[in-house]
Structures are given as C-alpha cells and as structure tokens.
Amino acid sequence: MKVLEVQGEQDDFLNPPTALVEAQGTTLNARLDIVDRMPEPGDYVIVHAGFAIHTLSSEDAHKSLELFKDLAQHG
C-alpha cells in the first residue's frame, strides 16, 4: 500500500507511530510499531492485520514488478 503521511516515531510506546496508506481507493491508518524501516511519503508498505511489516521504496516496488513480468515472458 502506498504511504501518504507518517506520524509519530518508533519506540514511542505512548504514542505509537502510524501512516496513512492508500490502495485501490481505500485509505487506512496502518500502525508502524514493528516495521523494519520507517517509511516516508511515496514509499510502499506491506500491511498485515493493520500493521506495516515491511517498507519498500517506490523504485523497489516497480523493480519487483518488472521481475515478475520478465519471468512470465522469458524465464
């Protein structure tokens, strides 16, 4: 899901950080307590049960996509 805004900081257990994320026309506040790298707006996060578990940059997301396309076409 694409990250639109980020609030708060990791390790602040009193005010856990969240990100406003968007996919398919839906927005959601995803928790960032356990994500490996704090995302920035424009990054993508993999969300599981309301929590972000992995951050990847927009470049990485597209690269990953290209790899799949390649495989399907050429192997």
């Binding site: 406003l20 968007e22 996919a23 398919q24 026309g25 839906t26 927005t27 959601l28 506040n29 969300v47 599981h48 049960a49 309301g50």
Partner: protein, 341 residues
C-alpha cells in the same frame, strides 16, 4: 415535547402514546387510511393476486452512510413486493422503542420513513408503537408488512430458471454490507462507501415493459447473505447449476479494497437496492438496456448462465475466477470473521 427522550410512559397507550403518534408519526405520514386511527385500515383491492410480505429491521448502527433504519425498512419491504412484480399498495409499521431513545433520533427516522414512502409512492396505512425498558431493545426495532398487486399473467419464482437462461444483476454488489461493516469497525478507514438502499419497483416495472412476461423467470433481491446466497437458493429451487463469471460481476473498487483488507468476500455482503434477474437468454440485452434507463440500473450486467445438472450432480453455483480457474460459491455459513496469522 418537554422530555427529549422516549420513556416507558410513551408505550402505555394513554395520553403520552397519543401525543407520540400525533406529533412524530401523523405529522409525517398522514394519509386517508392512517389518519382514521382505527384498529385496521380498510383498503379496496381490484380482483387479482396479492403479494404480501413482512420484515423486521434491527440494523446496527441505526444511522449509516446512505440511510437509516427507517428508509431501510421502507425500501426493504417495497423491494420484497417488487420482486414479485407487485407495485406496492400499502405498508404497515410496527416500532419497538427502547426507553431513553432520543426524540431527535426518532424524528429523524420518521422523516426518513416519510421521504422513502413518498419516493416509493406507498402509504403507511397502519402502525403501532411499543416502548420497552432500557436495555431490552437496541434503540429501535422496526417490523413491517407490505401488500401489492401482481399484474395478471405474471408468474415469477425461484423454481423457474431454465438451462440456457441469463443471470443479470442490476448494479454494484456489496455496497450496503460494506457500508455497515465500516461504520461498525474500529479500524480507521478513509473510504466512503454508502449503502445502496433504494426502492426497486420502477426498475422492475421498466424491465416488465420491455420484456414479455413469459420470458422473465424471476427477480430476487440479494439482501442478507448477499449475491452468493440468493444464487444458491435459485440453483436449489430450480435444480440447476449456475455458472458465474467473476470478471463480469460489478463491484466498486473501494468495496473490493475494503473487503481485501478485512478478509471478506463481497459476494456475501448485503445489498439493499439491487436485484438479480433471470430471463430468457434471447432477451438479456433488452433487460440490461431497460435497467440502464434508470440511474439505479446504470451498471447492470450479465454475470452468468443457468446450466443443466449432470446426472447425480447436485445444484451448485460455480465461478470462473479472474485468472481462469474454477471454484464453488457456497451458501454463507456463520458471520464473516476477520483473519489472523
């Protein structure tokens, strides 16, 4: 009203009840039947067959994006009649109010009922209100009954689907169910999904104008249990297989997005302003075009076909998935539950 909440006194049958009926209901639902305040309404019926239905509404939350329990009650009841091709003639309203309900909320609901009745051109001819102590009901429960006249020569039923027939849906699936789930959910979602609650008689009437009666097999509205449940019921009643194409089913992107996040299947979510029509395949285009003449049918689509069962095969609904695979669409069992992993 001095008090701004419903009290047990309002349910006693005495002066407070009279004032409640006058100030909240008659002020908004006045018609020559209801105004008489007799024990029964007396309605003239031209010779023919009556469609007669009853429904109860316990929706939570009572107010949701796209409607409330009041408009839902009217739409749901007239739609049950419309599914038999019947123009709604009269409705009754039974209300159970929880002590402590805010008057303002009750009036809002009554306004909603009034608007929905005007839109559907149907009077509420009889009504009743009761009040129960705090905690014995959840704000307000509504029971309705409805009658309508079925045009002569029209024979519709879930048992009438034939192999070869077309399965058509009048628009986007899953809106109402997802709107309700999102208003109840503690997750902070940003998508705005509105209930599709709306009256369907005009849609049905338009279809019946364009399609000969003997070419229309049935209408069903996929409310509780969703499209999947209604299709299974048709398959069982008609003893057929229904083959549906996932890619052809109209679903809003927002609805499928929310369903993905919540781990739900939109095929099982309630719809309150949609219908499924099964018609002779030669008329499927006419029916879709007729539906599209009205705003609520703008996204009507052919979603599947009726097929004969093989020997010893049981009635079933099968789905061709978006990637070309096949699976069964079963009846809804239990409430949709969230995922864990």
């Amino acid at each position: 009203m001095k008090n701004n909440r419903i009290t047990l006194d309002h349910g006693s049958g005495g002066l407070a009840t009279k004032e409640l009926i006058q100030d909240v209901f008659l002020a908004r639902l006045s018609n020559r039947y209801l105004d008489r305040l007799e024990d029964s309404a007396v309605i003239g019926i031209e010779g023919g067959r009556l469609a007669f239905t009853t429904d109860s509404y316990v929706v939570d939350p009572v107010f949701f994006p796209g409607g409330d329990i009041g408009s839902l009650a009217v739409h749901g009841t007239v739609n049950d009649l419309a599914m038999q091709g019947a123009k709604p003639k009269a409705l009754t309203l039974g209300l159970i109010l929880e002590e402590g309900l805010l008057f303002q909320e009750l009036e809002q609901i009554a306004d909603s009922i009034s608007r929905a009745c005007k839109e559907a051109q149907v009077p509420v001819v009889a009504a009743d209100t009761k009040v129960v102590p705090r905690g014995k009901a959840d704000k307000i429960f509504i029971n309705t009954a409805g009658v309508g006249l079925i045009p002569e020569g029209l024979e519709l039923g879930s048992h009438r689907a034939h192999p070869g027939d077309a399965v058509i849906v009048s628009g986007f699936i899953g809106d109402h169910g997802s709107a309700i789930l999102m208003s109840r959910s503690n997750l902070s979602f940003g998508a705005e999904i509105h209930s599709d609650s709306a009256p369907l008689y005009d849609l049905v009437a338009t279809v019946l104008e364009k399609c000969p009666f003997d070419k229309v097999r049935l209408f069903r509205d996929p409310t509780r249990g969703g499209l999947a449940t209604v299709l299974n019921e048709i398959a069982q009643s008609s003893n057929v297989r229904i083959e549906v194409d996932e890619g052809a089913i109209p679903i809003r992107k927002k609805v499928s997005g929310v369903c993905e996040l919540l781990g739900l299947d939109p095929l099982y979510l309630a719809n309150e302003g949609k219908c499924v029509a099964v018609v002779d395949s030669g008329y499927s285009q006419e029916v879709i075009d007729a539906m599209k003449e009205l705003p609520i049918g703008a996204h009507a689509a052919l979603i599947g076909r009726i097929k004969a069962l093989d020997v010893s095969q049981r009635p079933v609904v099968t789905l061709k998935t978006g990637v070309g695979g096949q699976r069964i669409v079963s009846m809804l069992s239990g409430e949709p539950l969230p995922r864990i992993c």
